[in-house]
Amino acid sequence: MRREKEKDYLYITLHTELPYRYSAGRYMSRFLTTLRDEARILASRCTHCGTVLVPPRVVCGNCFAEMEEFVEVGPRGTLKTFSVINFPFIDPFTGVQRPVPYGYAIVQLDGCDNGLPHFLDEIDVHKLRIGLRVEAVFKPQDEREGAMTDILHFRVIGD
């Protein structure tokens, strides 16, 4: 604990480290292990309405039906929308400032009905536009660990 004073008022600074251990569950575990072992992106298909969603999940939000089927999507897709993040902030993943600038993309993967958020390798907004074709770039196999970071980023491949 650290105490600072501003005029007559004290500030008490606390750094709290709270470890969490999240279960990925059946669907997310399969998604992450397939990324790690095969560098392939899995989505789930709703048996009721046919919607394909990434990451795969047990329930389709549109019809509350179970999504029983896994399908491969991507690794290519279309830039649904994007930003380039320039402002500094503390990354709750690391406890330190996230490196900026970085490209932030919502990618509509081929064969998929929704978007996947990920990094873009391009930070020049003049070279980016909605609708561009992009492709997932994976880490080398021996570095993949079953996490979203197994995809390094998406790279622009053209119109």
Binding site: V54, P55, T81, N86, F89, P92, F93, N114, P117, I130
Partner: protein
């Protein structure tokens, strides 16, 4: 049948970037005291308390416990609600439900936040899926930037038009004693401010504020005898969304869905003609143009025209955010409740220098979570 319900009083702190002089219960008490004075009531007249904030900004999980003295909740029924940016509107909706149920006559709704106490973007990121989304999300700024880009690209809305909306909001804020940023800006200043997340400039974005807001809801019989003119709740509609940002289809917005239902409940068929003022939850300036389209104030892509023609300014036919809105004041847990409080003040004719003349029907919104929405419609007539 639900009982009719009205807002009979409200109070706000004077919002600012940092209130070192008060802790959380002290900040909350300021707003509660002002609301009680406004309604000419004492805490003994309050039957129940509903309070809300976003826990991760202050790292305190039970604000209903922590703030029970400041909120006046000791030995009363109380509950806490946290729904992100919509928290304040959810608190208002909950207080409305309490009174509409017939179980309570006067319910105090409180929203508060002290954003000076941590990094707001970090706090917002922790609301999102830890496995998929936290890696890349840059809080509300990043989430709004991708929506702004899609909106502006789809309809050819220019950065100048968006900047004009930012200038208008800060100009309106100058008439509001509670507003945080009362800036006298030019379009050039907005466009020359740093691009924090394309296409959002620093001066397009809401600030982080310390502040609290309290609103008193009352059931029909009690409201009719209140010291203030009642602002009747005509509709309170909530729409949540799919969980991931990548799931969101901005063409099927929760705001539009909530507005359609709210108009049906309030019997409104021509929103632009029948609404007199809007208090929109505008976390970034593009929302002042895009989200009034979702409210059917104009057609798709016509938001830019609404600022170019001045239709949404104080002098226009449908003023949006006389208070200065969220891009002028943003204590997040209070922010959506401030929209409801400001809409009520407009109905009551108590909005001072920011009063729009002859307001009979007002609309307020909340925004939060994975692009979910709340819509309130208030009216002078029950």
């Amino acid at each position: 049948m639900p009982k009719r319900v009205a807002i009979i009083g409200s109070g706000q702190t004077d919002h600012t970037s940092r209130r070192a002089d008060v802790n959380i219960p002290e900040l909350i008490k300021e707003a509660v005291d002002r609301a009680l004075v406004d309604a000419e009531l004492t805490i003994d007249d309050i039957d129940a308390v509903v309070i809300g904030n976003m826990e991760h900004f202050e790292g305190i999980n039970l604000s209903d416990m922590w703030a029970s003295e400041g909120s006046g909740a000791v030995m009363k029924p109380a509950m806490k609600i946290a729904t992100g940016g919509t928290t304040g509107a959810s608190v208002a909706a909950c207080a409305y439900y309490h009174c509409a149920s017939g179980l309570f006559d006067r319910v105090l709704a409180i929203g508060w936040e002290k954003l000076s106490e941590s990094d707001t973007t970090t706090g917002i990121i922790t609301a999102f899926d830890p496995i998929v989304e936290r890696l890349t999300l840059a809080g509300a700024v990043g989430g709004l930037a991708i929506e702004a880009n899609l909106y502006m690209t789809s309809y050819g809305i220019t950065q100048e038009q968006v900047a004009k909306a930012a200038v208008m909001a800060r100009k309106n804020a100058q008439r509001n004693p509670h507003a945080h940023l009362k800036l006298d800006l030019t379009v050039e200043q907005v466009l020359n401010s740093p691009m924090i997340a394309y296409p959002i400039h620093y001066l397009d974005m809401c600030p982080t504020s310390d502040g609290a807001c309290a609103v008193i809801f009352a059931s029909e019989d009690v409201a009719r005898k209140s010291a203030n003119p009642p602002a009747w709740v005509k509709a309170a509609v909530c729409r949540h969304n799919h969980p991931y940002i990548g799931d969101v289809d901005w063409r099927k917005s929760t705001l539009e869905s909530a507005a359609i239902e709210a108009y049906r409940l309030a019997g409104i068929t021509h929103p632009r003609r029948e609404l007199d003022v809007i208090e929109l939850y505008d976390p970034a300036s593009f929302a002042l143009l895009s989200w009034i389209e979702s409210l059917h104030i104009c057609g798709p892509g016509e938001g830019g025209k609404m600022i170019d023609t001045g239709a949404i300014t104080m002098e226009g036919d449908i003023p949006v955010n006389p208070s200065g809105g969220v891009i002028s004041t943003n204590p997040i847990g209070a922010t959506a409740l401030i929209r409801v409080a400001e809409a009520a003040l407009q109905i009551q004719g108590k909005a001072g220098a920011r009063q729009v003349e002859g307001v009979r029907t007002a609309l307020a919104t909340g925004f939060g979570g994975s692009y979910w929405s709340e819509v309130f419609i208030l009216g002078r007539a029950s």
